[in-house]
């Protein structure tokens, strides 16, 4: 049996009553940190960036079509990922933002993806923009695209990837997120292929993450999970990452978007 850095710990060590108390207190922690979130400040910066002229074409992102028409922000995040005919592929928020950066602003893919994940001293454009765009969907039901053949294909690929074991530790997403009752340290692991668990997760990303003191996006979350599984780093906005995000979002659809807020 492999010794793994983050072994799922079973709740055997805690008596049921104690485990329940812990769960209640952790839920209280999650609720209290979410009451007012620095995510709102990222959204303010994101709005400035959205309206800022950039790239060789010296235009802003204001005409970017996130699925509901050029420049329509209200509710756009709640309808992602979805198929976009102009790109002929399924795109999540960040992939679509990247598309607008390259097509509208004329920026190169290389330049626009040079620093997609920031740090606490200097967040990235993607983080600011994601906070802003997501904030425009607060309270709206998560309804990703599910009818187009490519949307269905993305879902299927995402599901396959979720259960596919690989890498030096022979892990898949399901290793941590595939069985009821597992936890890592004090964190209960949501079984992400089950709607009941996925809904809350999907309704709260992207988010300001206390563990990083930073705003983190869904592409970052997928990237970091791959790192934690000791797998090769996925390419930002790749078909694989979009497929996985599609699978998770469709599995967790229907919940009103509650973010962007603060998470652990």
């Amino acid at each position: 049996m492999r010794i793994v850095l983050c072994t799922a710990v079973f709740a055997a060590a805690l008596s049921p009553a104690l485990a329940q108390d812990a769960k209640t207190e952790i839920q209280k922690y999650q609720r209290m940190i979410n009451e007012d979130s620095p995510a709102e400040l990222y959204a303010i910066e994101g709005e400035t960036l959205w309206k800022k002229k950039a790239g060789p074409r010296n235009v802003s992102l204001e005409q970017c079509d996130l699925g509901l028409g050029p420049g329509v922000l209200k509710g756009a995040y709640a309808r992602l990922p979805r198929y976009f005919p102009d790109a002929d592929r399924v795109m999540d928020l960040e992939t679509r933002l990247l598309y607008c950066m390259t097509t509208l602003q004329g920026r190169t893919h290389e330049e626009a993806t040079k620093r997609v994940f920031g740090n606490d001293d200097q967040p990235s454009e993607m983080e600011y923009l994601s906070a802003y765009v997501a904030s425009q969907s607060r309270g709206m039901k998560m309804e990703p695209g599910t009818t187009h053949p490519k949307e269905k294909a993305a879902f299927e690929l995402g599901r396959e990837l979720f259960f596919h074991r690989a890498g030096t530790w022979d892990f898949s997403c399901a290793s941590c997120h595939g069985t009821e009752g597992q936890r890592i340290r004090m964190q209960d692991l949501p079984v992400l292929y089950k709607p009941a668990y996925a809904r809350h997760v999907i309704a709260t990303w992207p988010a300001y993450r206390v563990s990083n003191s930073q705003f983190k996006t869904m592409q970052w979350r997928v990237n970091d999970c791959y790192r934690q599984m000791r797998m090769p780093e996925p390419t930002f906005g790749s078909d694989a990452t979009v497929a996985l995000i599609t699978f998770l979002t469709v599995t967790g659809e229907g919940e009103p978007y509650a973010g962007p807020g603060t998470k652990r």
Partner: protein, 104 residues
Amino acid sequence: MATGPMKMRATLGQAYTDVRVLMSHPMETGQRKGPDGNLVPAHFIQNVTVKVNGKVVVDGQISQAVSRNPVFSFRLKGGAKGDKIEVSWLDNKGETDSAEATVA
């Protein structure tokens, strides 16, 4: 000069006016090692002041033990719609920022 925006809102309630403030600040303790291996110098808010129509009602001194990007809640009494609330901060480098909101 702030490292980012500051936001606040003031909502009139039955028993009190609810004031929420979001600040952008690294709140560096001075004990953290940076990427170059050297200690990142202490840089944190030391004073937080809440004013109602120009008069100080809360005078706070805080330390580096307050979280990065501080979030505060205060409660004011005897207020009315239209009151001007201002929250300002001053850090150990002499930098300052403030935000205003009208009680709604």
